[in-house]
């Protein structure tokens, strides 16, 4: 059970930390001029040269392997509801690390989504 808790924290904090680092990298990269293949490839090339992107990748990889291991141990109906906590952890990160404005409507929405994902996965 302790192993499950440990891997669940790798999953939640790895994905949230990785996504926050990647968000910071993407904001520094800037929006692509057009949503066309050439412009997207150029945008991708620029994003891949950003340090924040590469800080996020190992954290996402850790979270990915934690997900695979958890899926091999536990039913998906446990793994997905438990990982729904990352919506709340991620919103805290967005507010306090990325400086996004999280108003009451967004907070309520995030909490409802988190509870909803848990209920859907429980079946």
């Amino acid at each position: 059970m302790m192993h499950v808790g440990l891997f669940l924290s790798f999953l939640i904090f790895g994905s949230t930390g990785g996504e926050i680092a990647i968000t910071r990298g993407m904001k520094a990269t800037g929006e692509p001029e057009r949503l066309r293949p050439v412009a997207l490839l150029r945008f991708l090339g620029k994003a891949l040269r950003n340090g924040w992107f590469w800080a996020g990748v190992p954290l996402m990889a850790l979270s990915f392997y934690a997900l695979l291991v958890l899926l091999s141990w536990e039913p998906i109906s446990f793994v997905i509801p438990a990982s729904a906590l990352s919506y709340v952890v991620g919103t805290f990160g967005a507010k306090y690390i990325l400086g996004e404005e999280v108003n009451a409507a967004r907070w309520i929405g995030v909490v409802l989504v988190c509870a909803g994902v848990a209920l859907v996965a429980l079946g």
């Binding site: 968000t23 091999s72 998906i76 967005a94 509870a115 429980l122 079946g123």
Partner: protein, 142 residues
């Protein structure tokens, strides 16, 4: 006003691409891991699991979809808030339940319907907020 509308439309398109790719990818991963079996937490067990995962075709199909998810996710995060995109992506869970009922004629429990309702209300609430609350750089094309 037109810029705000354009921002919402392109954010919605990218979130839809994210949802489709993420769900297809997750389903493939689960299918691959079911075939591989439980991973043992030992050096030999992890090495065996690693060999099995890198040689699994189903897992690579899942990874292909997850790459599509990653590209659409990175693109949308270049202009939209993380706290806007992340909960909006959860709409996929609601969509999967609708598909299960309509196409697979699966029975869905009242608890799951309550979950779907909460997700839809949550996504609608988040959708009412501004997609972008932080300054964003315009990509230099030079």
């Amino acid at each position: 006003m037109a810029t705000e509308g354009r921002l919402r439309v392109k954010t919605l398109v990218m979130v839809c691409a994210m949802v489709v790719c993420a769900n297809a990818g997750d389903l493939m991963l689960k299918r691959a891991m079911l075939r591989i079996g439980a991973v043992e937490l030992s050096a030999a067990g992890l090495a065996h699991a690693f060999r099995m995962t890198v040689t699994s075709g189903t897992l690579w199909v899942g990874i292909f979809f997850l790459c599509g998810f990653m590209l659409s996710y990175m693109t949308v995060l270049s202009w939209a808030d993380y706290s806007y995109v992340m909960p909006a992506g959860a709409f996929g869970y609601a969509l999967l339940t609708f598909f299960a009922v309509v196409f697979l004629h699966e029975a869905v429990s009242p608890r799951r319907w309550v979950g779907v309702l909460l997700i839809c209300v949550g996504v609608l609430l988040v959708g009412q907020t501004k997609p972008r609350t932080t300054p964003v750089a315009r990509e230099a094309l030079a």
